[in-house]
Amino acid sequence: MAALFDSDEEPSLVIGAEDAVVSRNAAATDLLGEGPVRPEWLAGGEAMVDAADGWPVLLRGEVRGHVSGYRTLRLRDVTLARCREAADRLTAGHGALLAVEPDPVLAVGDLGRIVYANPAVEALLGYGAGAVIGVRMDAVFGRTTATGVRGFLAAYSRVAGEGAALRCDGTSVPVEADLRRIGADVERFIAVRLRAPGAQVWGPAEAEVRLLLAGVHDHGIFLLGPDGRVATWNAAAARATGYSAGEIVGQPCEVLYVEEERAAGHAAANMARAAAEGVLRMEAWRRSRDGGRFWADVTLTALRDEAGQLRGFAKVLCDASARRRAAEAQRALDAAEARNRFVRTVAHELRNPLASVKAITHLAARRARAGQAAATQAATLAVLVNEVDRLAALVNELLEVAQAPEVSPRPVDLIGLIAGIWPGPVESTAGGVPVAGDADKLRTVFLHLLANARKFSPRGGSVRVRVDRRGGCAEVTVADEGIGIPPDELERVFEGFHRGSNLDGHDPGGLGLGLHIAREIVRAHGGRIWAESGAGTTLHVELPLANGTHPAD
């Protein structure tokens, strides 16, 4: 197996079937311990893990040749490279401004390492230009742990205190430190401002703000004046919209709105809402410089001074087009999967009676050829008639599902409607229970409920039907004395194709779609339906009373 490791210096692992680790060399054990292999590495990607010393490292996997089913996974530590990339990004826009900042200011990223330091830091700690990038936080601040860094980044916090910072040469220098978390969800840093004890007050917080704005690389963040004109612009905003700062600063933010929203005056309306409510979050189409559209996730926050005067707006804008496309694709997949499942279930449900019909007709034909007595034919044909009826009922149920439960509301008295389809008594204390609805659709609802109640009632058991007013609603209850519904199935009975687990081999027939159809119609009427089970089952339907009927009349 050792031959599979192409170098003993580089951390390497031998991967066998089903991505199982077959063996690992000493360097890999030093780095990972017995820790598992991340799937990202096997795909040639990067993943962050905690090294044996507890500090996170970023590793990139590289899969080497296959030797009779085994692969070699070599891991490269790209921690420093990532820190340098972050440093370049943070320095790119605002490095010049931070360079002249008198206070030493540095930033620590999620790897627990320094990703930005201004020249004042290098001077204080004695590092050469750029050499402090990638240095672990505990190498400067002593007792710091990876867990501490993680906790600080997880929840906003700010800590200030006195202590000592370790210099490059191992000596220490007394400092006061002010640590705060900056950055958005996507990328967070700990910004650290240092100064010698007893020095003048902290300088302005602008350094942190500049770090924050530059560091956020997938959220456009910019300010608008109270008149809606763009006042500042960051690199991510430029990337998302195509406008450079020079082109857009001073322009009304309306230029980012799509034509129809601009015509409808949405830009002014949104600012008015943000001014009134403090903050406005929305997703909408926005227009980029080339005239194209992108789906934007926007947060607009009103900025007020201490006197409460509106000073402008902060706008955070994120191109959510990819997210929207992904959500749409997922919805289409889900719909296709649901449709396939439906068709498979229907096919299965139809094949059972079809199998009986086919077998019986073949048997009848065979007996007819043999000239057998009509009496045997009659018994077999009775079964056939039954099965054909069942098939027809299944097809009807299917068609009811296919019908959109659109409602053309008219006043309907529920007592009269139910009395028309139920031979037994309809109990009520109200003179009439009017709802606005589609009489045919509502009749279908109660036909299904009543048929169900009868189907699951024991011989001689009674079904009680009540129609009443409760608050502003009409409530219909249908109670049977049957076997009831197990508690964990009370909601599933409305999902369609449900078969009770307590039926004891008794097939109730049908596709189990009746209650599903009833629920869809009730919902389309703005009502709700639920089941209750104790001794028997009680189904409740609640529908809003027709407009203009007072609950008490």
Binding site: R344, H348, P353, A355, S356, K358, A359, I360, R499
Partner: protein
């Protein structure tokens, strides 16, 4: 002439398959679900063939087959599975644990042939 245990929850199908196999000269024991089928297997002398539906309430065909194959007394019993389901590997017993798969709706000749082939393979 063979003894056949038919486990099928569809009453009409149980009736007609029972008649057809009866007319073909077989003795047919009827069970309307997996639990009753297993009880009959325990209490009666073993049949020559077991025919069963795949989807049944409580104990389905997949579980019945598993129980048969786990018991030395029934391990060699030929099994004919009947189903109207669209093939879905997770619902089926493992290949090799049953002898014939009859897809619903089936012909009477297919039904009789399934039994005959099971008897011949014993």
């Amino acid at each position: 002439m063979a003894r056949i245990l038919l486990i099928e929850d569809e009453a009409a199908l149980r009736h007609v398959v029972g008649e057809v196999l009866g007319e073909a000269g077989h003795e047919v024991l009827l069970a309307d679900d997996g639990t009753r089928g297993l009880t009959m297997l325990e209490r009666l002398p073993p049949p020559d063939v077991v025919m069963m539906d795949l989807f049944m309430p409580k104990i389905g065909g997949r579980a019945v087959v598993a129980r048969l194959r786990a018991n030395p007394r029934w391990r060699a019993l030929p099994v004919v599975l009947m189903t109207g389901a669209v093939y879905d590997a997770t619902d089926f017993p493992p290949a090799g644990s049953y002898q014939v798969l009859l897809k619903k709706p089936f012909d009477l000749d297919e039904l009789v042939a399934a039994v005959t082939s099971c008897l011949a393979s014993r």
